[in-house]
C-alpha cells in the first residue's frame, strides 16, 4: 500500500463546494436577491477549482501517481464491496481542472446572461448540482460511484434543457435527452454487473491489476467493453444515440456550453479512457468504436453544413468533434482523445458563449440567416469567436490544431483510408464553421429593428479568458515535431494506457500537415467567396432543394426514422397492450369467471321458484338420498 499523501483528503472538498452551493441556492431560493445566487454558485465552483489546483500540486509534490480517498462504505454485502471513494490521479485531475475551470468561467458568464430571468436562482442551483455530479463522475474510484455522477449529470441535463418549462417542445427535448441517456445507462449498468462478476469488484485499480490475467480478445472483456460502450455512446451522443444533443440546445446557452459541449458529453470519452486497460484487451470493440466515431464525425459534420440555427450548428459540430474523440479512442490513442477533450472544452465553450453573446445581443434570435454584420457592433465577441473558429478548424498554432493533428496522424498510422475520411470530416467542419462566422459577423445586418450591442463585462471577460485558452491551450502538448516533449500525453500516461504505436517519421508528418493546411486554406477561401463575396444566404426552409441538400438539411431523416421505428411502435404497443390485451383478454377473462359463476347461479335459481312445497319435496328427497347413500356405502 502506498503511503498516505498529506492533504490529499482535501479531495472531498472538491465536490462538496458545488453541493453546498446547490443546497444554499436551492433551499434559500426565494430569499436570495439579485445576482447573489450567481455569485455564490460561481464562488463555489471557483473554490473547487482552487482545491483541484491544490490537489494537483499536492499529488505532484508527493511523487506518487494516484491516491484513493475513501469517504465511507456505500454498499458492502457478501462479496460486494463498493466504497464511496475518490480516485485522484492524473486523468481525474485533468478532468477536474477542466470541469471546475471552464465551469467557473461559464458560471460567471451566466450571471450576465441569465440576469433577467425570473428563476435565476434555480438555474444556478441546477448548474451547481451539475458540477457536483460531474465531479463525482470523474473522481469516482469505482464504476458505481462513476455511475452516480453519470446519472446525476443526466438528471441535471434533463432539468436544464427543460429549464424554460413553459414550452412543451423544450420539455420534450429534455425528456428525449434523458431517455436516450438512460438507454445508454442500461448498457452501462449491465456492463458494471458483468465487470463485477468477472473481477468480483468494481474498483478501478483492482480491476485493472487483474485485467492483465486476461487474453486479448477474451469474450468476457469484449462483452464488458461493448456494454460500457453503449453507455458511452448514449452519453457522448454518438450514432445511433446522438439525436438528443441537437435538441438539447433548447436549454439556456450557458447550459449548452457547460453540459452539452465542454463537460458532460465528454463523460463517455473519459470513461473509455479510464477503462483503457480493458479496451486494449478488446480489439473488436475498438474497431467498432472507430466505425462509430468516424461515422458520427462525418455525418454530423454533413448535417452541420445545412443548419441555420446558430446553436444547432454548434451542436452538430460538437457531435462531430466527439466523433473525432471516439476515433482517437478506437485507435487506442486514449490520451489523444482526452487531449482533444481538453482543447475542445476550451474552444467549444468559447463558441457557445460567443453564440450566447450574439443571441443576447440579437434579443433571442438564433437564425443565422437573419444575422450578419455583427463584426462591427460586437468586436470583442467577434475576435473571440474567430479565435475559437480557427481553433476548431485546426489552424496552427491554435489549440485545435495540436489535438486534431494528433488524432489525424494516429489515423494515418492505422490506415490511409481512415486518414482521408477523417481529414474530409475536418474540412467539412472548417467549411461550416467559417460559413457560420461569415454569415453572423460579415456582410450586412439582415434583421430589421434589432440593435445589437456588446455584452456586459461579466460576459466578455470569460470569453477573453477562454479565447486565450483556445489559442494557447495546444501548447500543453507540443509534439516532438516542434521540439516539444508532449507534456500532456506524458502526464496522462500514468493513468491511461495507450496502445503502443510506431511514431511517424517527421517528414511524413510535416507532409501531412502541409497538405491538410493547404486544403483548409482552400476551404476557407471557398467559404469566403460563397458567403462574403457573393453574399449567398442559405435558402428558406420551404424552398425546393436538390435531393442531397434536402437530405442533409433534414438531418438524414434520422429523427423521423426513430419516430417511425421506435416511438410509433412503442405507442402502438402500449395501445395494443392496454386496449387489446388488458381490456379485451386479461381483464374480461377474469370477469368472465365471475360472470360464468353468476350465470350458473341464474340457471340454478330457476329451481328456486320460492314454492315452499317444492322446497319441502326437495328436502325430503335429499334426506332420502342421504339415508340411502349411508345404507349402501
Amino acid at each position: 500500500m502506498v503511503e498516505q499523501i498529506p492533504n490529499i483528503n482535501l479531495a472531498w472538498l472538491v465536490p462538496a463546494f458545488p453541493l453546498l452551493g446547490f443546497l444554499v441556492t436551492g433551499l434559500a431560493n426565494k430569499r436570495l436577491k439579485h445576482n447573489q445566487a450567481g455569485i455564490i454558485a460561481s464562488a463555489m465552483v471557483l473554490l473547487s477549482f482552487l482545491v483541484s489546483l491544490v490537489l494537483f500540486f499536492v499529488l505532484r509534490a508527493s511523487g506518487q501517481n494516484e491516491a484513493t480517498v475513501t469517504l465511507f462504505n456505500w454498499i458492502s454485502i457478501g462479496g460486494m464491496n463498493i466504497p464511496f471513494a475518490f480516485l485522484i490521479d492524473h486523468l481525474s485531475l485533468t478532468m477536474m481542472l477542466i470541469i471546475t475551470g471552464v465551469g467557473a468561467l461559464i458560471h460567471i458568464y451566466s450571471i450576465g446572461y441569465m440576469h433577467d430571468d425570473g428563476r435565476v436562482n434555480s438555474f444556478f442551483a441546477q448548474m451547481n448540482l451539475f458540477t457536483f455530479s460531474m465531479l463525482l463522475l470523474v473522481m469516482g474510484a469505482n464504476y458505481l460511484v462513476l455511475f452516480i455522477g453519470w446519472e446525476g449529470v443526466g438528471l441535471c441535463s434533463y432539468l436544464l434543457i427543460g429549464f424554460w418549462f413553459k414550452n412543451p417542445a423544450y420539455n420534450y427535448a429534455a425528456r428525449k435527452a434523458f431517455v436516450m441517456n438512460r438507454i445508454g445507462d442500461l448498457g452501462f449498468i449491465l456492463g458494471i454487473i458483468v465487470l463485477f462478476f468477472t473481477f468480483k469488484t468494481v474498483t478501478f485499480s483492482e480491476i485493472f491489476s487483474q485485467a492483465a490475467g486476461f487474453q486479448a480478445g477474451a469474450p468476457v472483456i469484449t462483452l464488458i467493453t461493448l456494454l460500457l460502450l453503449v453507455g458511452a455512446v448514449g452519453k457522448s451522443a454518438q450514432i445511433p444515440l446522438f439525436t438528443w444533443l441537437p435538441d438539447a440546445m433548447a436549454g439556456p446557452t450557458p447550459v449548452s456550453a457547460l453540459i452539452h459541449a465542454a463537460t458532460m458529453v465528454t463523460a463517455g470519452i473519459y470513461m473509455i479512457a479510464r477503462s483503457s486497460i480493458l479496451y486494449n484487451l478488446a480489439p473488436f470493440t475498438l474497431n467498432i468504436i472507430i466505425v462509430i466515431g468516424l461515422a458520427t464525425a462525418i455525418i454530423a459534420a454533413l448535417i452541420g453544413l445545412k443548419q441555420n440555427d446558430i446553436k444547432k450548428v454548434l451542436a452538430y459540430s460538437t457531435v462531430s468533434q466527439l466523433g473525432y474523440m471516439f476515433l482517437a479512442l478506437g485507435l487506442g490513442a486514449y490520451s489523444a482523445g482526452v487531449f482533444h477533450v481538453t482543447t475542445h472544452a476550451f474552444f467549444k465553450a468559447l463558441l457557445f458563449l460567443g453564440a450566447g453573446s450574439v443571441i443576447h445581443a440579437m434579443g433571442g434570435e438564433q437564425d443565422i440567416r437573419k444575422m450578419g454584420g455583427l463584426r462591427k457592433k460586437m468586436p470583442l465577441t467577434y475576435f473571440t469567436f474567430l479565435a475559437a473558429t480557427l481553433a476548431i478548424s485546426g489552424i496552427p498554432p491554435f489549440s485545435g490544431f495540436f489535438s486534431k493533428d494528433l488524432i489525424l496522424s494516429k489515423a494515418f498510422e492505422h490506415s490511409i483510408i481512415l486518414y482521408i475520411l477523417a481529414l474530409g470530416g475536418a474540412l467539412i467542419t472548417c467549411f461550416y464553421m467559417f460559413r457560420l462566422l461569415y454569415l453572423v459577423f460579415f456582410g450586412e445586418q439582415r434583421l430589421a429593428g434589432a440593435h445589437p450591442h456588446e455584452s456586459p463585462k461579466v460576459m466578455t471577460i470569460p470569453l477573453i479568458i477562454l479565447s486565450v485558452l483556445s489559442v494557447f491551450g495546444g501548447f500543453l502538448n507540443i509534439p516532438s515535431l516542434f521540439n516539444g516533449d508532449s507534456k500532456f500525453i506524458t502526464f496522462l500516461q500514468t493513468a491511461v494506457v495507450s496502445k503502443a504505436s510506431e511514431e511517424l517519421s517527421h517528414s511524413t508528418e510535416i507532409g501531412l500537415i502541409l497538405g491538410s493546411l493547404l486544403l483548409l486554406g482552400l476551404v476557407i477561401f471557398f467559404a469566403y467567396r460563397t458567403f462574403v463575396s457573393k453574399s449567398i444566404i442559405p435558402a428558406k426552409d420551404e424552398e425546393p432543394m436538390p435531393f442531397f441538400s434536402k437530405l442533409i438539411s433534414n438531418k438524414f431523416y434520422i429523427d423521423e426514422m426513430y419516430t417511425a421505428v421506435f416511438e410509433k411502435p412503442f405507442g402502438f404497443l402500449s395501445d395494443f397492450f392496454y386496449n387489446k390485451v388488458e381490456n379485451t383478454v386479461l381483464d374480461p377473462a377474469v370477469d368472465e369467471i365471475g360472470v360464468t359463476t353468476a350465470r350458473v347461479g341464474a340457471l340454478l335459481r330457476k329451481l328456486q321458484q320460492g314454492n315452499m312445497s317444492f322446497y319441502l319435496f326437495a328436502m325430503v328427497a335429499g334426506i332420502l338420498l342421504f339415508i340411502i347413500f349411508i345404507l349402501i356405502v
Binding site: 325430503v620 328427497a621 332420502l624 339415508i627
Partner: protein, 189 residues
C-alpha cells in the same frame, strides 16, 4: 320372543290376564295413533285436524304409561294437549280459519306426497332393520320414569341445557310478541 329371566309359564292367571291386556293395549293405542294421525293429514277442516291430533296425543300418553314413563305422560298431556293444542285451537278460532277453506294441492302433488311418505317409511324401516338384529339385552326397572329419577337426571346431568332452554323460551316469547305486534313494520314486500 320372551326374554331370558322371564318365564311366561310361571306367571299367575291374573298376571297373564294383565299381560294380555297390556299387549292388547299396545296394539290398540298404536292403531288409534296411526288412524288419527292419518286423519290429521287427510281431513280438511283445521278444527277436525286439531281434534284428531289431540286423540293421537292422548293415545301417546297411554303409550308413555305403558313404558313406565309416568312423569312424561302427565307432562305430555299438560303441555301438548293442554297448552299447545289449545293454542292451535285458539289461533284457528281467532283467525276464523275454519271457514276459509284452502284448496288442496293438485292431485299429482298429493299422490307424490303419499308416494314420498311411503318411500320414506320403507327407507327408514330398511335403515332401522339393522338394529332389529342386534337384539340387545334389556334391563328393566320400573323406577326410571318416576319424577324423582327423571328430576335427578335433569338437575344433575342436564342442568346447563335446562337453564339454557329458558333462554330459548325467552327468545321464543320475544319473537312471538314481535311477530304478533300489529304495528310492526314488516315492510311492503
Amino acid at each position: 320372543m320372551p326374554e331370558a329371566g322371564w318365564d311366561y309359564a310361571k306367571q299367575t292367571t291374573n298376571q297373564k290376564l294383565n299381560q294380555v291386556i297390556m299387549v292388547f293395549l299396545f296394539y290398540f293405542l298404536s292403531a288409534i295413533m296411526v288412524i288419527s294421525a292419518l286423519l290429521v293429514v287427510f281431513s280438511k277442516s283445521p278444527i277436525n285436524n286439531v281434534i284428531y291430533l289431540i286423540i293421537c296425543f292422548i293415545a301417546m300418553a297411554g303409550h308413555y304409561i305403558l313404558l313406565n314413563a309416568q312423569f312424561l305422560a302427565v307432562v305430555h298431556i299438560i303441555v301438548y294437549t293442554g297448552a299447545i293444542m289449545v293454542l292451535f285451537l285458539f289461533v284457528i278460532m281467532l283467525l276464523n280459519l275454519n271457514k276459509a277453506i284452502i284448496p288442496q294441492k293438485s292431485a299429482v302433488t298429493r299422490i307424490m306426497a303419499v308416494v314420498t311418505g311411503g318411500i320414506f317409511f320403507l327407507v327408514l324401516i330398511a335403515a332401522t332393520r339393522q338394529t332389529f338384529v342386534i337384539n340387545p339385552r334389556y334391563a328393566f326397572t320400573s323406577e326410571i320414569g318416576l319424577v324423582a329419577n327423571v328430576g335427578k337426571t335433569l338437575f344433575h346431568e342436564f342442568l346447563l341445557p335446562f337453564e339454557i332452554s329458558s333462554v330459548l323460551f325467552i327468545s321464543a316469547m320475544v319473537g312471538a310478541v314481535m311477530f304478533g305486534k300489529r304495528d310492526h313494520a314488516v315492510g311492503d314486500d
